[in-house]
Subunit: 304 residues, 4 copies
């Protein structure tokens, strides 16, 4: 396969829809993104990295960080306990909904809705003492980009407009499902969501899932089974309330963020990271989904 | 791979849990099943068929029939319209719930919850004039078992105890999302759910999904894309409100029924059908999930 | 108090809003009503009857019949059992919602939402053998209008468009909370809802609640306590999902119907029945609520 | 009527059920209450005050304070705006639920569920600069008890265990329905809920609702209409998710608190305040409801 050609074809497929949808504007820092920006990167398990468009431009990774917090928490030896505190079923409701959380007594449905990510962040904070720092260092090491960091303005803005996340965290705490103080957990949550990275950085950082658990340096982060399992949770829960549609169209495990990025995994082969700031109603990038749909349709790279 | 050895290992893994859980007893005909019965069959795209345990015993396929109604409806040329009448997102609520149906104005969340299957059955009835007959003939042709048929006692019993399904169907009709009379649609729905088949029959009948849309006789039922897409919907929605857990443990597209069967697809390789009547709380067979989990863990046959 | 003057003042208050809102049009027979029609009747415990506007015009009483089915069911000696099958709490959801019914396992929240009225009709059918006939005969006797009857065209039309009520009834039956066949219960339900009566007829027929349980002929239908209790249920649950607002504005127990009528009770004093076909979003007559609000504000006739 | 005799009869009726139910124990200070304690006070518009049992013992008024915050907020000239920020319909869900709040976009259903009381407290804080102080001063003036005050230990304990209320407040803030900082609003909320008062104090303090808006000193707090309207909201929403049952049994407007108190209004006649710490599942005092039920049944003092 000519990777660069296929990336270009995917970009061409996405071009007509760029700007369709709505840039997340609940905080000013995100609202300033250019709705016509677009990047797409491919990293293979063989070490190749390619990209088209704005693939080296940094953007706010937002919920894509949840993939890494989950992996790092599961990499600890006490990981099994995590699944008593958070489920792994699709939620059927928006990513920041409180409804299901009440019906299910403070146990978030899965690690990728906001409530679940708060619980995973809490666990990672207990395990490491610095949840956001652990994510940042992991991303730096895997991407080889030592300047990758939290955008402090974004983190501060998230905190300032974060009443709904504060509600979720206090609600979880009311069910005794937090180990650390609400304020500390939210601080780390905002800090890892506000990391800025490029398509290139994220494609490289996600390769451990394509390599069945192995990091860039060959060391093992996760067992083969756990890597497979994270892919399963990504496929069923990784793209907000549109996971079914994403599986139907793209057919790959993936994690999206309201910054417009989507990181997708092709087990055994590599990763794709697409970015376009304009979002559909479910909160997924219109351009990124379109490009990934085209890429997998053209190449047959799908898990199905 | 020594298929028979792997099947035997999977059966051995399931043996300790056989009888754990609860046989569906909302109708007498199902309640009479032996909770310790167990069968497992494997069919490959190369034409091999193997089985262990009670793999040639007939059981009530129940919701597994929803996979075939969907495939047959999508195989028609007017299939695209179907996705306006039924969604493809995981539901997050029990398979026979009315709550989501009301919130979403009569559009069932996906084709595999009861409400969605009623809509698909309605469509197939319009397309063929005999929805249950179409499913039966397809299963006979693919399995090569000409005596495969609806168990009329089961169908009659379902209808007699079917107030909740009648409620779903009338509710859907109240949103103008049925083309045929409620009674006719329900009649076909009960008839295809009450088909009796063996693990062997179902493994063979499901092979078109492993063969990317090709039937046993080599003719094409579905496009490659549509076959891939049905697998995606199976993975995200095929095992009731435990699709996330099934993906996590087994990692294959699959469809379960309250008769205790689960039909799973290994794209490009083959199918597995496991059967054990005792169900977990989500309505999936405890023995079948355990056996499939063991098989995929031992063999690495997973989509992730 | 000059009753005729106060009725006229109330009519004057309502006149500007007549036609505001929307005539119920889910069946043709109701949709044909004149949105500018308006009537208001007053009946006192002393035997006076007055009216203004179209107070002697017949209209479809619809849900107002639920007040009478409840009273007649409670008048039987086995009445206490009824409160195990239906609650008496406000519902917080629309009158024909299935959501709460599922959350509460087939026990309708109160006798005045559709689901609750189906259960009460079922009970009255068991008690009398002819639920709709019992309501009709009671209304004839109390109003002194021997020609008062079910509008068969309306009843037939309700049945034809009644998929949502059929869904409710089947759903209740799925929880074993119906004693009679779904079709029989629905037939009686539609027949008593389709009774046509005038403001005059209904004001007279409701007087037993102002007389603490005594019928027009002086015989006792209900104990003083039970009459008081029906008034309490009317106040908290009688005007669909706007009972709080009706209590706030009008301050009287009352029952509304989508035909545009509202029957209100002034305990110890009398009854008021207002009618105007155009409805607000909760399903209550805009003109009738406005007139009753004006009447109670001007006269101080309120329970508070 | 011999008031003391009727109070004694009501106490006698309640005695057998004292201790039935469960003392609120989510904070230690409440959990220490004696489940067999019981008091009942009556204050009439003519100036009589009577009591039986522990009617002069102080207890934590908890949600009964919500009645006073509402009255004081409505007494301001800008009161109409309040009804755009909080509804007046019964909720149909538990008093501290977040579900309805999400469905209704941050507008609490009524002023007496926790979410609604947070909004009213926020408004009163804006109007007065000291919401808890305003409630305290009003209660002191009306009861003539200058030592009546917030129990600081209870308030501190509420704050410490108040994750669910913090979740509600942040959630409301996320819909821009708070004017003051979350922490400030919650501080005042806990402070007025933690006021300690006796049955005697509360019966006197509530008399303005029986006097159609007039305070103890003859000055007008509320218009006649507004007093009537608060009574209406009390009747439909004042006793948590059991307002329908309370109306059915007692037939009076009333407000309950998890401290075990219930303050009821007999418009034009007087007030009753009953107290017993053991609560039913809805959060209302078993003894207080029983005593009020007996009193109104024996005396005919009911609004119906």
């Amino acid at each position: 396969m000519d990777y660069r050609l296929e990336l270009q074809r995917a970009l061409d497929a996405a071009r007509p829809v760029l700007g369709t949808g709505r840039v997340a504007d609940y905080i000013p820092a995100l609202g300033a993104a250019d709705p016509h920006a677009f990047g797409l990167a491919l990293a293979t398990v063989d070490g190749e990295v390619h990209g088209v468009g704005d693939w080296e431009t940094q953007f706010s990774i937002q919920s894509i960080s949840k993939l890494f917090t989950l992996a790092l928490a599961l990499a600890s030896e006490e990981a099994l306990a995590l699944w008593h505190r958070v489920g792994r079923e699709p939620s059927g409701t928006p990513f920041n909904s409180l409804i299901q959380l009440e019906a299910e007594q403070g146990i978030p449905r899965n690690p990728f809705i906001n409530a679940g990510a708060v619980v995973v962040t809490d666990r990672l904070l207990s395990l490491t003492g610095d949840a956001a720092g652990a994510v940042r260092e992991f991303l730096r090491a895997e991407s080889g980009n030592p300047r990758l960091d939290t955008d402090l303005a974004v983190a501060a803005s998230e905190a300032q407009h974060g009443h709904r996340n504060a509600a979720l965290a206090h609600f979880i705490a009311s069910y005794d499902n937090l180990e650390n103080p609400v304020e500390a957990v939210l601080g780390h949550y905002y800090a890892h969501c506000a990391i800025a990275a490029s398509c290139r950085d994220l494609a490289l950082a996600g390769l451990f899932l394509a390599r069945h658990g192995l990091r860039a340096d060959g060391s093992r982060l996760l067992s083969r089974s756990d890597a497979k399992r994270i892919n399963a949770v990504l496929l069923t829960c990784g793209t907000y309330d549109a996971a079914g549609d994403f599986a139907y169209r793209v057919g790959l495990p993936g994690k999206s963020g309201v910054g417009g990025g989507i990181l997708a995994v092709v087990p055994g082969r590599g990763t794709l990271c697409a970015w376009g700031p304009a979002l559909d109603r479910a909160g997924n990038s219109v351009g990124a989904v379109t490009a990934l749909d085209a890429f997998t349709t053209n190449t047959g790279w799908s898990v199905f």
